[in-house]
Amino acid sequence: MSDLAPPSPSAPSRLPFAASLRFRSGEGVAIRIAVAAILSLLCAAVLVALSGHSPLAAFAAMALGAVGSPHQFGVALNRATPYLLAGGGVAMCFRAGVINMGAEGQIALGGVGAAAVALVWPSAASALTVFASLFGAAAFGALWAALAAAIHLGRRVHEVLATLLLNFVALLLVQQTLAGPLGQSGAGFLQSPETPPASWLWKAPEFGAHIGFLIAVAAAAALSFVLWRTPFGFALRVAGSSRRAAAYAGFSIPLVTWGVMLLAGALAGLAGGVEVLGVHHRLIEGFSAGFGFKAVTVALLGALEPLAVVPAALFIGLLEAGAQSMQRQIGIPSALVVVIEGLTMLFVLAATVRRA
């Protein structure tokens, strides 16, 4: 009878939508995800073959493009960095049963925060400038997430709607700031002036990889610690499994939601910040297009385990860096990578989401 353990009498059977999305965890998930990734590459191979090219040559070009030289590898690391930062935050939200789809907007606003602070910061001391700019990025991202949390908790708007719709507002806000206070007049393109070199992230010579990747890995490790080794992490794991159990355990659902939303917002903001300070050295319209959704991809690819998001983000980063060289060398459109990412996402979801 154990496995048929029935719901007890008078138990309300309604679950919030968020809690109805359940993921597998525990042993076997790593294998499932690896198989999913391999299957998606196989599908991609078929697509390449259909377009009349050799899949082997394409993948070889892609591999060379990703890890063929220190510089290529550095590009891949830089690609992976924002996905990893934002993806870790998204993973924490999903763990808590808060479906945060707002990383896209939070990243964009993080870029605004970083650029704004970097442009007005008077100090010439590099470390302090960088620190202040990254702090500005995190603060802006957290603020944007806080808005979504306030709408969700205060007005009971579903969090998917609140976070998703604010993305559009955030993108318009970036345009507005670039057309106004932060814009570079006469650039012919919506972008800010270049930020002072003091605010640039330190880069490894030869590689061209900026220090953001290390920051992101440290953040992932910290998230994993919070998730598994603190009462707050426990509270969010319980909240993600059963809202009723969380209330019974004495955890406040609003507090947990606030906590993970602010955390995820700050990390997404940081992702935007490192992109601006590490790669472009200025705020450019559309600099982060699609990053927020890739963050969701890597969070799921990493089975919502912050440390596992590191290889997941690397996978996508390498894929994208490799794709560009594949396009250059063989003429297969790099859009194929978007297809592979989509396929990976589908396979991973099929492998990890439990039937209700």
Binding site: A5, A11, V238, A245
Partner: protein
């Protein structure tokens, strides 16, 4: 009487465990077979095999002279087997007739609502179900909902009905009605498998009983040849001692005081419980028990009134503050509230204490402290599992409830709110729960013990309150309890 069902040598393994280990089961037309056994004895597995929900590793099933193998529930249904689950598979927002039409080919491609309603009315009369086709299921008491399931089975011409613990949610009068409905079905030649661990009901309605223990048939007998004691012994393989008698104890000082408590579906209600006293709350489910229990536990806000713990007002205290003030709560809903099934035993043990030693050291969780404490509690409360890492979902109902008991009692609470604490448990586990609650009471705690099992309340309480319509219809000392009076109080509910 002709053979309806013949199951032979059914074996079903789950890993190393043989949930069914060579089980035979026969059901004839016009016969009610009681399938008895403790939790985890393999009753459900056997029925899932029959219904095609799990495939047997060995064995054959002959139903109406045809072999059933590799079948799915849909095929089992069309062959004439109906399963009535413990929790009903009904859409609450729909009416009786709509639920009957759901997934039924004879309802027509364009629904024949009026015609189906007439058939519902006719069948309802024939079997004494007393169902209004246009009633919305959400408004029906649990007993009626079960009859909707029976009606569905009857209309679909099911020849064999499987009822899984059908009486666990019913009031005594509803149980009597159900049993007479079953007798009518029997007289129409249906075969019935009645899964239960309530011996009196089995003795009352069954023609024959089959007893399972650890996946094997440990006894079967025609009902006229056995006594309750023999059946109980077959089930557990040992004597079940009745719960300890209540030793008289001078009640201590007031530990829980409730005054004019009021909320949706609740009150106004005033009572107090003293240290060393168990207030048993009887009554038919759905009369405000969940509202009262959750309001006391802090999961619902009352509209008015007050709750005091040990003389201190706790009306507005958070759940965590109440736990800290010594309030323990065992919710009725084990699967979604009292436990997180996906978490480990250890994590479930620290569910409400994760911020305190030994589970936490400073601001961080202490995996070592958790493992030590979990092993200690598993030993002390006899939680049978490979280790603290095992997921709670893998345990039987009895072991799951032991986790809740261990967690709530280990805090050495001043007040315990226990809601259906022994619900769905087998006699051995029930006794364990009752003994622990009695020990807590002897240690000086105040206990409010909600149960819809009147026998349980009578066994354990110092005082008995009966809930009806959100309030106490009456309160009596156990020593002066009069069953007729309690019955009248319980019937205070409009059914």
């Amino acid at each position: 009487m002709s053979k309806l069902l013949e199951m032979r040598g059914i074996v079903r393994r789950f890993g190393a465990v043989r949930a069914n280990d060579g089980v035979d089961l026969d059901v004839r037309r016009g016969e009610i077979v009681g399938l008895l056994g403790e939790n985890g004895s393999g009753k459900s597995t056997l029925m899932k095999v029959l219904f095609g929900m799990v495939e047997p590793d060995e064995g054959t099933i002959i139903f109406r002279d045809r072999e059933l193998s590799g079948h799915r529930p849909g095929e089992a249904m069309s062959a004439g087997i109906a399963m009535i689950h413990q929790h009903f598979m009904l859409i609450e927002a729909m009416t009786v007739v709509e639920n009957v039409m759901l997934g039924w080919s004879e309802a027509g491609r364009i629904l024949k609502r009026a015609e189906t309603a007439a058939r519902v009315r006719e069948a309802s009369r024939r079997f004494g179900l007393d169902l209004d086709p246009d009633a919305v299921v959400a408004n029906l008491p649990l007993g009626r909902r079960q009859r909707v399931e029976i009606l569905k089975a009857a209309l679909r011409q099911a020849e064999l009905l499987i009822l899984d613990e059908p009486t666990s949610n019913l009031a005594p009068t509803e149980v009597a009605d159900l049993l007479s409905i079953l007798r009518r079905l029997r007289s129409e030649g249906k075969g019935i498998v009645f899964i239960t661990h309530k011996l009196p009901e089995a003795l009352e309605v069954c023609d024959r009983v089959v007893v399972l223990r650890s996946g094997r048939v440990t006894g079967q007998a025609a009902i006229r040849d056995v006594t309750k004691t023999q059946l109980a012994q077959m089930m557990v393989g040992r004597e079940v001692a009745p719960p300890r008698l209540r030793g008289a104890q001078a009640a201590g000082q007031e530990r829980l005081a409730v005054a004019r408590l009021q909320g949706p579906g609740l009150g106004p209600l005033s009572f107090e419980v003293r240290g060393g006293e168990i207030l048993g709350v009887a009554g038919v489910d759905g009369n405000g028990q969940i509202e009262l229990a959750e309001t006391l536990a802090g999961l619902r806000r009352p509209d008015a009134g007050s709750i005091a713990l040990d003389g201190r007002d706790a009306t507005k205290a958070s759940v965590a503050a109440r736990v800290a003030a010594g309030l323990a709560y065992m919710p009725a809903d084990r699967s979604l509230t009292a436990l997180v099934r996906s978490l480990s035993i250890g994590e479930n043990l620290m569910l409400r204490d994760s911020g305190r030693p030994p589970y936490a050291r400073g601001p961080f969780l202490s995996p070592g402290g958790l493992a030590r404490k979990a092993r200690e509690l598993m030993r002390e409360y006899d939680i049978r599992a490979p280790g603290p890492q095992t997921a709670a979902a893998r345990l039987s109902g009895g072991n799951q409830q032991k986790i809740v008991i261990a967690r709530e009692l280990d805090r050495n609470p001043a007040v315990l709110i226990a809601h259906q604490a022994a619900w769905g448990l087998d006699p051995g586990a029930t006794r364990f729960v009752l003994e622990r609650v009695l020990a807590l009471r002897d240690a000086g705690a105040a206990v409010v013990y909600f149960s819809s099992e009147l026998d349980e309340v009578l066994d354990i309480s110092d005082r008995i309150a009966v809930m009806a319509n959100g309030g106490f219809a009456g309160v009596t000392a156990r020593a002066e309890a009069d069953l007729n009076q309690i019955g009248v109080w319980m019937a205070g509910r409009a059914a």
